[in-house]
């Protein structure tokens, strides 16, 4: 996983999978990076092949954390078709701005 801060944008990418095995670390590292007060958080899911409910829970935690900070935009970039299906199944696509670039 790669976390980069570009100006006011916090970019998280190279996530191969988000499961019970790594979701806690993902959540902690992104929460720590949020202390830099970015105005945009972008999670690139183009390489994510597998996600389970723990991964969805980590995304939801991030959603709540950014919702507390008014004005912070949270985006999911280019989710794979499988992840898109999982987001739709759990109705979580309603929470996030999903962007394809």
């Amino acid at each position: 996983m790669k976390i980069e801060s570009k100006g006011e944008c916090l970019s998280i990418s190279e996530i191969q999978e988000l499961t019970a095995a790594n979701s806690a670390r993902f959540r902690d590292e992104v929460q720590f990076a949020l202390s830099g007060s970015p105005s945009v958080v972008e999670i690139n899911l183009s390489q994510t092949r597998f996600m389970d409910s723990s991964g969805l829970g980590a995304l939801f935690a991030l959603y709540r954390a950014t919702a507390k900070r008014h004005g912070v935009v949270l985006r999911l970039l280019n989710p794979t078709s499988e992840i898109q299906q999982l987001l739709e199944l759990t109705q979580m696509q309603q929470l996030f701005e999903i962007v394809r670039r």
Binding site: S53, F60, A61
Partner: protein, 297 residues
């Protein structure tokens, strides 16, 4: 009168439909595909039906038996390659003998549902779903006694339980022994096959849910074919194996029972689906625990 059915072999466009057995035995609105054709041909006057199966002939034979269920004589013929209609005619009725149903009902390639020749089933998942929706009103044959039309466009199995606050929007089909919990939305254009469990707050629209499938609470199955833990978006053909059982999973445990005759010769493999009540109990317990947990963040 005689008739011959040609079962479809594997179709690369719809691999998931044949994951648990040949396409001829795929469940469609409460019965398997080949059974719908037998019922149709029987209604047209067939008394002897030959079935040519190039994929899973044993499973087809196990599904249809000897035809006693329909009052006809059925023979299942195994072959290596799915024959065309012309090849089947030259092999099984080369002289054009009398005593066969009139064309086109004499030799029928099972590429569509009875009465819907313009709606091919196996060209894509989208075509399969469209064909099922179009055929829904025609599925209510006189032999169908366990499903009734509760109101126009809404069919419900007589042994199904639908919560009073569940919303069934026409057209939709709720098969036999289905459980639809409170505050769910089923339809429009939804098919729940037999023994499906849809938990509270779930939504099933523009979708087909296969038999013995658990749809978890608050989940949304849209534009999809859901069978067991497989979820296929019929618009894009994208497929997903859902990792968490409390979202979407199979309630059936397929038990392969090898059967032999009295001389010890194998009669093939018979598949039997058993509803796994233990799994339902475990899932419900997990869901109850989950609802009491604090979400992180």
């Amino acid at each position: 009168m005689k008739a011959l059915l040609i079962c479809p072999a594997i179709r690369p466009a719809v691999p998931h439909l044949a994951a648990d057995g040949p396409l001829a035995t795929t469940p469609i609105l409460g019965d398997c595909f080949v059974s719908h054709w037998i019922e149709n041909l029987t209604g047209l006057g067939a008394s002897q039906i030959q079935i040519v199966a190039s994929d899973g002939a044993d499973r087809v034979r196990a599904a249809v038996g000897d035809g006693a269920r329909w009052g006809v004589r059925i023979t299942v013929i195994a072959c290596n390659v799915e024959p065309t209609k012309e090849e089947a005619a030259s092999r099984h009725n080369p002289e054009g003998e009398p005593g066969w149903l009139p064309a086109p009902h004499d030799i029928v390639p099972m590429s569509h549902l009875p009465g819907c020749p313009d709606l091919p089933l196996f060209e894509s998942y989208a075509s399969w779903f469209a064909a099922l929706l179009a055929w829904m009103p025609k599925a209510m044959t006189p032999a169908r006694v366990r499903v009734t039309e509760a109101r126009p466009g809404v069919w419900v199995g007589s042994r199904s339980r639908v919560a009073p606050t569940a919303k069934l929007i026409a057209p939709c089909w709720v098969g036999d022994q289905v459980s639809v919990a409170k505050d769910t939305v089923v339809g429009p254009c939804a098919i729940l096959e037999d023994r499906t469990v849809v938990e509270s707050g779930a939504r099933v629209t523009q979708s087909w849910v296969g038999p013995d499938t658990f749809v978890g609470p608050m989940t949304s199955v849209e534009n999809s074919l859901a069978w067991g833990s497989s979820l296929i978006d019929w618009r894009t053909d994208s497929s997903l194996r859902v990792p968490d059982q409390f979202l979407l999973s199979s309630l059936a445990r397929l038990q392969s029972v090898a059967t032999t005759d009295r001389y010890g010769r194998s009669l093939g493999t018979q598949a039997r689906a058993e509803t796994n009540s233990e799994l339902i109990t475990t899932l419900r317990a997990r869901l109850d625990r989950g609802s009491n947990q604090k979400l992180p963040g």
